[in-house]
Amino acid sequence: MGLYNDYNNNIKLRCLRNGLILLPLSLFAVATLFPIYFMVISSFAAPVEAGAASHLLWPTKWTLDSYIFFFNYSKYSTRWLMNSLIASTAVTFSNVVFASMTGYAFSKIRFRGNKLLFNILLCAMMIPYQVTQVPLYILIVNTFHMQNTYAALIFPSSVSVYNIFLCKQFMSSIPNEIIESAKIEGCTQLNIFYRIIMPLSKTVMAVVAITTFMSNWNTFFWPFLVTSKMEMQTIQVGLKNFSFANSTYFAPMMAGATIAAVPMFVLFFSMQKYFLEGVTVGAVKG
């Protein structure tokens, strides 16, 4: 009983049907994974110019020369990776701390203006980033003179409204009785947050941490605007510069793309559960 017929538990028929379903599923999976496969495989080819290179689905010779070529392109290429790591880690840390604190306050502390403030935040989330990008750029570069600093990469995204929303949604389901009884025992709000709320909200904090880290590692637009010096660029900006400067070197470009993408693949496969769960934590029910 269900969406699919169970053929009165006739195993042969069910296997046949599942096989027929698997076929389109797998075909589409191959199509989706193909660019990534192509990227990784091609990065192991020799760093020759495109005219001489042939685009093969399986390289005849495996070599790491293209990776060496990429790292030799600029003396800052390892610095790019470091910059990405530093900025993403800082943004992630501040988002986990401040988004969960704010989410807790909005969901459980009764203070004047609670609902109004939260609604203002939600409305602001609807405004496209194109509106804020110009004034934000003027603010950071012309007013604060923060171009080419970590501060410029970190501060504007240090607490995102979406993360506050996620935390609020999750923490609303924590029973009030726990908090009330802790209050009666003489717990201050800070203690309640640290000793009760945080341990109970590990899932949502992990989701916030992972999605924030990933989006900041992959972000291109903002670092591209505020970093002009090579030593302050992130790996995504560096990769873009590399690929525009060496547009004929195919394999090294794929090596660079792989370097920029692989840390996230590792993170994804080690924390897959939180990635997949994270999608539905904040989604509307229906």
Partner: protein, 305 residues
């Protein structure tokens, strides 16, 4: 007596906030509010002001609504709107249909198989946009050795300059979107499918409904709120699309892939026309708000939350 007491406590709850809670509340949200005010609220207000100026770092000139009036005769602005609409119409409904079909197909399998497929379809979302566009640039390479050209070569078709000619550039970007990550949408759809009560299907089976009848009469209406949600979020993000066009075609050829997001970026950071860019961005914001409202109005009638 009892009733009166109850009334008082209720009123107390509504009017008097515990003083301590007030302080703690503001303390907990203080950091977020500061960041929000400086990096979101202030820029939004400033965008409205800049949109009425001819911006200059030292002394901006007030020009009133000139920036907005200029847009009415700006051919490129209308072309970019047309491109954005074409891109949205070609990608959003198709992507949602693909995700729905994938979710339906994944549904009968055991948990571990479902998770595997979810992970596979999610994976491209994990790779950075710059990495993927670098790869796709080579897949669409205009050389005969380019992968896509090799593929159509099998069917005896001539090599094309996919990203470099007007008739194929937009299609190339659209195809890339179709084959990108559907993981998020699939996961959301599967969650919605799990929420459909089993007895609906049992009743349908008693009436000997076919599989397609079940999908048509039970599943589609039941997941309608989800579909609406995906449509709204899909259109909002499609209207802001920037990266693919910027990194792969730079808006060309002949501005045939210049979307609104890219146009705003070019006006602001290529030509330093901050006023014009802000005016365009605000119009984009209004358009997104109107479209979202319309969707909820016309599609949201039968939704029960």
């Amino acid at each position: 007596m009892k009733k009166g007491n109850g009334g008082i406590t209720v009123r107390q709850k509504h009017s008097a906030y515990a003083k301590e809670d007030n302080i703690w509340g503001y303390l907990f949200i203080s950091m977020a509010v500061i960041v929000f005010c400086v990096f979101t609220m202030y820029p939004i207000v400033n965008a409205c002001i800049i949109s009425m100026q001819k911006y200059n770092p030292i002394q901006s000139k007030w020009v009133g609504l000139d920036n907005y009036n200029g847009l009415l005769t700006d051919k490129l602005f209308f072309k970019s709107i047309r491109n954005t609409v074409v891109y949205t119409v070609l990608t959003v409904p198709v992507n949602i249909a693909i995700s729905f079909i994938l979710a339906i197909l994944i549904f009968p399998f055991k948990k571990w198989m479902q998770t595997t497929f979810k992970a596979i379809y999610y994976l491209p979302a994990v790779a950075s946009g710059v990495s993927l566009s670098v790869v796709w640039l080579w897949i669409y390479s205009s050389l005969p050795s380019g992968l896509f050209n090799q593929l159509i070569g099998i069917f005896g078709l001539e090599s094309q300059n996919w990203l470099g000619q007007s008739k194929t550039a937009m299609f190339s970007l659209v195809l890339m979107s179709w084959l990108s990550s559907h993981g998020t949408n699939v996961i959301i759809y599967i969650a919605a499918l799990l929420g459909i009560p089993k007895d609906h299907f049992e009743a349908a089976e008693i009436d000997s409904a076919t599989f397609f009848q079940k999908v048509h009469y039970i599943v589609l209406p039941m997941v309608k709120p989800t579909t609406l949600f995906l449509f709204v979020t899909g259109i909002i993000s499609s209207f802001q699309v920037f990266m693919n066009a910027y990194l792969m075609t730079a808006g060309g050829p002949d501005n045939n892939t210049t979307m609104v997001g890219l146009l705003i970026f070019n006006n602001a950071f290529k030509y330093s026309e901050f006023g014009k860019a802000s005016a365009q961005a605000l119009i984009l914001a209004v358009a997104i708000a109107v479209i979202s409202l319309l969707q909820f109005k016309f599609m949201g009638d039968e939704i029960e939350y």
